[in-house]
Symmetry: C2
Subunit: 371 residues, 2 copies
């Protein structure tokens, strides 16, 4: 394979996903350096966290990033300076944004125009304003521009092949009619536990607490329960399907935070008061049960109608959405070619390793294109 | 996107898949010629069927291939001559093999070495001898060679993203432990009808007849029931997962053709005598039923053990394989990263439009690489 001989990698973010990515990068770099089709060398030339940054003026590879980062006292470079540093690298550069930072996302058009490629799970770049979406793809080489490439598989469903599949359906001329699924590992776990298909399940507030204790929620569970994370993912899918969705708040999103608890000053106060509302959730549960159904928190895009929505819906117990397990995601594409039985993708949609895998997979795609 | 300005397309095969592909190619060519990133022109310069062939010495585009083919009396070019014609085209060439022809498959290494790229659903190229597999990827630019690119998504599960997903799991360093699923639309339909999860179902021979009448089987249903089609798909997946599988007959494959009927001289005689064996199938069904399970025809690859097998197995009624509908395929990847809950891909795994979609999707990938 005529891969480039050397490609420079810059990584922003070394949290849960970032650390897994760095480990996968190490594995990939080792494989590519021994490729029978001729070696490719990946050099990590910058690593930046929220508080620190490491890089060398001579673009020397950060082979011992862990110890270098630990001993570094350099604050992160401002984004324009970071771009200047990368643009002057003696070769092609891929910027890996493993943050969920809006400022970094807002700089994508600038990075891309300068010829830097980007791979990222950062939802904010693709689910914020429609203007930012347009600016990104106007600049990108895999959009309408002549700049760097950009890929973001892990912005929906982590490493599951959701975005690549939707893009292929569209590019090959299929007619996407509806996209429906469970797009949040947290919501999946909560409702699979709250109302399992075979009966049982605990109080809703207790399941939220269990999910938090297992590390399945954000530090403040309200950040999952408000539905915004799912709304961001639906915004991305709807835009890829051709809808001009202005923002993740421009369509109906059901929040599971009771109105009365919106003013809670902390996540702890919220969790403490949540049991007051278990009665309401139990009513929803028994109403569904009476119809032989279960309640699930889903998102859907109706393409011909131009409708996007996020919230609770009832599903027959035999429906694949009802039968989901653990904290899995499920995404069903209803299209003209696939007819009544949708194309379904299912599996873990959150977690460091699988999210990083989507990023690493995107990096492999970009490396193939950067010939 | 810096796509090439003009790419030449040669198509072999204009049957069910071939016709759908030509229609999708028309749509794609029209879109690419109007791309905001700068137009790309796709020119169909050769179309060949089992009996006829059309092409012009000056590489003029076959804009009216239907009428030209209808009026053509030219027999197909011998493959070496076909290669000569394509190699002299004034630009990059992608050969689309929509046949299931072994001779065409055997010529892939020769085509690739000459710099021609190939996209195809032809299973025979990837599931025949291990030598052919090696020769193909030794020559291909996305293997170890410097020739053309080759992609074959539709050789397993039609347009479902099965091969691309498995490749990404491997390339990003995941550890694939087991691949399991229903890989034949015909077998899926037969067993979903023979033993639905909710009870009922007809005699096996009657379901075979129904499937044939609905066009869900090969003209001679024995070509589905012998398990070879599934064995070919498992061979491809096992090889991609790193196993050196010598051929699709080098591992256990259960044939559903009763020994006594192997000597039937025709498919009709076979169908006529098949009811004699309904008793055996009913026994399997009730044995499964007693365990609360259903019988399904599946294939699996156990990567650490190096074992591949194809045949009947029993599944809990709540298992995703048991709950499959219609003639859908389902493929589950059990990996280190995905843990106990596999990454699952499900949907139509046969049919002209969805098979052609995988081919068109591969063509889009090659076009991006042929910069």
């Amino acid at each position: 394979m005529p891969l480039p001989r050397q490609v420079f990698i810059a990584v922003i973010g070394a949290g849960g996903v970032g650390k897994c990515f760095l480990s996968q990068l190490h594995h990939l770099a080792s494989n590519l350096s021994r490729s029978p089709a001729g070696p490719t060398y990946l050099s990590l030339i910058l690593l930046s966290t929220s508080g620190k940054s490491i890089h060398h003026a001579d673009y020397k590879s950060l082979n011992n990033w862990e110890s270098e980062l630990a001993s570094s006292t350099t604050p992160p470079l401002p984004l324009p300076q970071l771009a200047d540093y990368l643009v002057k690298a003696p070769g092609k550069v891929v910027l890996v944004d493993n943050t969920s930072n809006q400022d970094v996302a807002d700089s994508y058009p600038m990075f891309l125009k300068k010829g830097l490629s980007i791979v990222t799970p950062n939802k904010k770049a693709f689910s914020g304003s429609y203007q930012l979406w347009n600016d990104i793809f106007a600049a990108a080489a895999n959009g309408q521009g002549s700049g760097g490439y950009i890929y973001h598989e892990s912005s929906v469903g982590a490493g599951l092949p959701v975005i690549s599949t939707l893009k292929e359906l569209v590019e090959t001329g299929d007619e996407v009619r509806k996209i429906e699924g469970v797009f949040s590992g947290t919501m999946s776990f909560l409702f699979n536990s709250f109302q399992p298909v075979n009966g049982g399940g605990g109080k809703f507030s207790a399941e939220v607490k269990t999910a938090k204790d297992k590390g399945f929620t954000e530090p403040d569970p309200r950040d999952d329960l408000n539905g915004l994370d799912v709304a961001r993912k639906l915004t991305i899918l709807a835009r890829l399907a051709g809808l001009k969705v202005e923002s993740p708040t421009s369509f109906p999103v059901q929040s599971l935070i009771p109105k009365e608890l919106e003013s809670c000053s902390s996540g702890d106060e919220f969790l403490q008061r949540l049991p007051e509302f278990d009665g309401q959730m139990d009513e929803l549960k028994s109403a569904a049960e009476k119809e032989g159904k279960v309640v699930r928190f889903v998102g859907s895009v109706d393409v011909p109608k131009g409708e996007v929505k996020v919230g609770l819906e009832k599903f027959d117990k035999s429906h694949p959405i009802a039968a989901l397990k653990g904290s899995d995601n499920i995404i069903a594409f209803y299209t003209k070619r696939y007819g009544d039985n949708p194309l379904i993708i299912q599996g873990a949609g959150a977690g460091g390793e699988v999210t990083a895998m989507g990023v690493t997979g995107d990096l492999v795609k970009v490396l193939k294109l950067l010939q």
